[in-house]
């Protein structure tokens, strides 16, 4: 209260927070880039068996060691980003897009439509997500489109809940009443009046939802129900290298670190983007 600017916070936590603010988005961007170009950037053919032992340790030749077939682990992780990030991104986009649309429609139309959609999706929420995923994958087989749809359906209800509650608050504002009184169509009210005022929460929700999807996809793959060989995402990489555990092979831990780095980085990036307004909210 006695200086012109709020004094910079000191101490190890503050330094961590400040560097985190720059490094975390970089990690997110790195994995996104790997999802698109990883296959070409990989030092070796991800599926090619190299001239090496099984479960080799880290070396100059194989930075992250080799897997149970003697394949280069770094290449496999970089190539696996395509599945982990790609499938999660598609599933999240699908879940958030339909959640936003349904939430908007429910708040703009209200009444019976709102009640029906809300109760139906509440019923979906009550099914445990992993069980639901297991059943769907068991029924339809574990292809990538089925995985994307399954993940989207599992996360749609939560997405809808959040977006509906944001949209209902916006829909109660006077400018929406003015638009209604003018006789505007429901679609116009949804897209032009309500949607622009909920972009912030929608994006924050997108990021958090993405993390959950990554974790669920990885656990499905770990259980053998996700991405199937010869394709491999990070969850499957952990699973297939489990026998390396007694040898202390890096092949087991590295894909897990990749998962952790992606989810933590996304989480902290969202925090720094959306948390800042409230922390430093001075008129």
């Amino acid at each position: 209260m006695s200086s012109t600017t709020i004094p910079a916070r000191r101490g190890p936590m503050a330094i961590l927070a400040r560097t985190g603010r720059m490094i975390m988005p970089a990690i997110v961007l790195f994995w996104l880039a790997m999802a698109f170009f990883g296959y070409w950037v990989a030092p070796y053919d991800p599926a090619g068996i190299q001239d090496a032992d099984l479960f080799e340790g880290m070396s100059r030749k194989f930075w992250l060691g080799t897997d149970y077939f003697g394949r280069d682990m770094l290449s496999r992780i970089v190539a696996g980003a395509r599945y982990t990030v790609g499938i999660s991104l598609m599933a999240t986009s699908l879940a958030v897009a339909s959640g936003v649309l349904l939430g908007l429609a429910a708040s703009a139309i209200g009444g019976f439509f709102d009640a029906a959609v809300s109760r139906f999706l509440d019923a979906l929420i009550s099914i445990p997500s992993k069980m639901f995923g297991l059943v769907l994958v068991a029924a339809f087989g574990a292809s990538i489109p089925v995985l994307v749809m399954t993940l989207a359906v599992i996360y749609l209800p939560g997405c809808y809940r959040i977006n509906r509650s944001v949209a209902v608050n916006v829909a109660a504002l006077d400018f929406v009443a003015v638009a209604r009184a003018r006789g505007e169509s429901t679609l116009y009210i949804m897209l032009r009046e309500i949607l622009p005022n909920m972009i912030g929460p929608v994006l924050a929700d997108f990021g958090l939802r993405f993390i959950y999807v990554v974790l669920l996809l990885s656990s499905l793959s770990f259980l053998g129900l996700g991405v199937q060989p010869p394709q491999a995402d990070w969850g499957s990489l952990v699973r297939e290298n489990m026998p390396g555990l007694p040898y202390g092979a890096p092949a087991v831990i590295m894909p897990a670190i990749a998962i952790a780095s992606l989810t933590i980085a996304v989480n902290l990036t969202i925090d720094s983007v959306f948390g800042r307004h409230t922390r430093e909210g001075v008129r």
Partner: protein, 595 residues
């Protein structure tokens, strides 16, 4: 005599969202003698609350006291540390906030909260504190003083809560009490009770106070002297009677003029003008509609009204009386469950879906809060231009030209056209609000509390604009407000709503003369007049039974529980019929009919 509060060259700085450091209180000095009350008056942003809070050594988040001294008695507040401030606050100096409802913890009984500061400071035992609280409740004329402390905040009315908060402040016998707009959120009929209680408590205890408000008439009742503030600077310090009778500073004169809004002459003086809007036998509310056509939660019952072409009808009533719902029903946002709404001889469907686009165009709504009435993510050009495209299919250059015409009509600079609502001031936003409604070229304009959220000087300018629009465009308007002075200034006819029923209709000129329904009389008598002895001389406080919350009753007159003239056995069993009286007054009251 040495002043008790002495503030010298107080400077407070704040950091804006852009990181700029600006001075919001610029060298303010004043002093208050023991037993006197200093009024701080000014528009929003004048720094009045900031100064009042600084007296307690407190600066809001992002603000800091940058210079000057504040002394209370022999304590230098500005040089106290956190611990010293804790000792000071609640014990030597107490604070009464604008919204008592937000200042009480809803999960604890009132008594525990009222005596809390006495217990924290260790001034008395719990039993003694309770006893003292009860005596304070009595002094504040709070009904059932012995038991009200056992209730929870939501179980008492707003006016009572405000007085309970004053009791909370006074429990430690503080030297100084800071009143921060304590009656602003209350209805006028409640405000008068609270003001009376405050004034008595101040006199009996010889309390020194700082009273912050934007309402000159209110402060005239309480304060001994007044400091007029603007943009963080003192404009004038004078005794109350001097300021009211002979303000020296130009800005004080402006404030004074705005406090008693001048009558705007009506362009249509013929009371029998051809009716444009006719509402008959209309009932509306929320929830499912029952077999008798009444909704589960009725808000309006059997409303009849007509507005002549080009005339302005003022609708007045306290919060919760259904006046905003009336506008929503006419606009079709809340469909009426019974009765008809006729515009220009054509019956309108109850809901928006059943009305044609042309019918929707003819009725336009202007809402109270310009902040929520304008979409913050859309430019002014799009806000005003959308109705032009929607109703008239205007595009490109033609639309652009018309938007600029409308900005000009509402006295807005053309530079705002491509800006966002957040860039505009409150008054400008309200003008955009009008421009949007006018873009549709409506026949009927429904204005819901359009000046309530504005400072008096800005509100006066909006009233001028409305009078001008009526004159130039021949607009028919319905003007909803809780403020009788505003309604009187702009309207030709007045309709008084109480608890969802029309209790009286009258020409605006009959307001000061003629006999009125007891509620209308109470309303009239409760509006503070701009003189220092109004609170003592008014009879309005004796016109109502104290402390019973109003409820919508179906059998009998809704005003019965609060009416001192009521005749038990009749007024509470039969609904009084609506009758005409001399002077163009129509009222629903048995007592008025009997005289």
């Amino acid at each position: 005599m040495e002043p008790l509060i002495d503030i010298r060259d107080l400077r407070i700085r704040a950091r804006t969202a852009e990181g700029q450091d600006i001075e919001i209180v610029k060298g303010v000095s004043f002093s208050v003698r023991r037993g006197e009350v200093m009024g701080l008056i000014g528009e929003s942003g004048s720094g009045k609350t900031t100064i009042a809070l600084a007296t307690m050594g407190y600066a809001r988040y992002g603000c800091r006291i940058a210079g000057g001294t504040i002394r209370i008695g022999d304590i230098a507040v500005t040089s106290l540390d956190e611990k010293g401030l804790q000792q000071l606050r609640g014990q030597k100096i107490a604070y009464i906030a604008q919204s008592a409802a937000a200042s009480f913890n809803p999960s604890r009984p009132i008594m525990a909260q009222v005596i809390e500061s006495a217990l924290i400071h260790g001034l008395m035992g719990e039993a003694a504190a309770r006893e003292k609280a009860i005596s304070l409740f009595r002094a504040m004329a709070i009904p059932q003083p012995e038991t009200i402390g056992n209730r929870y905040p939501h179980q008492v009315s707003g006016g009572q809560l405000q007085r309970l908060m004053a009791a909370m402040a006074l429990i430690t016998d503080p030297d100084v009490v800071i009143f921060d707009e304590p009656t602003t959120a209350l209805d006028v009929t409640t405000q008068i009770e609270v003001l009376k209680a405050f004034k008595e408590a101040i006199r009996d205890r010889n309390t020194t106070g700082i009273y912050v408000t934007h309402d000159l008439a209110v402060i005239a009742q309480i304060a001994d002297s007044i400091t007029v503030l603007r943009h963080g600077e003192v404009q004038e310090i004078a005794t109350t009677s001097q300021l009211i009778s002979n303000p020296r500073h130009e800005y004080s004169q402006k404030l004074l003029a705005a406090a008693e809004p001048a009558l705007r002459p009506s362009p249509v003086t013929d009371r029998q003008a051809r009716p444009l809007l006719r509402v008959s036998g209309m009932s509306a509310g929320y929830g499912l509609t029952g077999k008798d056509g009444m909704p589960a939660v009725p808000v309006l019952r059997d409303i009849d009204l007509t507005i002549g072409r080009g005339r302005a009808l003022g609708v007045i009533g306290e919060s919760g009386c259904g006046k905003s719902t009336l506008a929503r029903v006419i606009a079709g946002l809340t469909p009426a469950s019974r009765g008809t709404v006729t515009l220009d001889g054509i019956d309108l469907a109850p809901g928006i879906a059943g009305r044609s686009r042309e019918q929707l165009r003819e009725i336009q709504l202007v809402f109270q809060m310009a902040d929520t009435a304008l979409n913050p993510k859309v430019t002014i050009d799009e806000i005003i231009g959308r109705p032009l495209t929607f109703f008239f299919g205007m595009k490109g250059a033609a639309r652009d030209r018309r938007v600029r015409e409308l900005l000009d009509l509402t006295r807005l600079p053309a530079t705002v056209q491509h800006r966002f609502p957040g860039d505009l001031s409150g008054g400008q936003k309200q003008r955009v609000n009008f421009a949007r409604a006018l873009a549709a070229q409506p026949k009927l304009l429904l204005c819901d509390e359009v000046t309530s959220a504005l400072d008096t000087v800005v509100a006066a300018a909006i009233l001028d604009l409305m009078a001008e629009l009526r004159r130039e465009l021949g607009l028919t308007t319905m003007f909803i407000s809780h403020d009788l002075k505003t309604i009187r200034a702009i309207c030709d006819d007045i309709m008084v709503l109480y608890s969802g029923r029309v209790v009286e209709t009258m020409p605006a000129a009959a307001l000061e003369t003629g006999r009125h329904h007891p509620y209308a009389g109470l309303l009239l008598g409760s509006v503070p007049a701009l003189r220092t002895d109004w609170l003592e001389s008014t009879e309005a406080a004796s016109l109502q039974v104290q402390g019973v919350p109003p409820a919508l009753s179906s059998g009998g007159c809704a005003f019965f529980p609060r009416c001192t003239l009521a005749e038990p056995g009749r007024c509470n069993t039969e609904v009084p019929p609506f009758r005409d009286y001399p002077g163009g007054i129509g009222a629903a009251c048995f007592r008025l009919a009997a005289e």
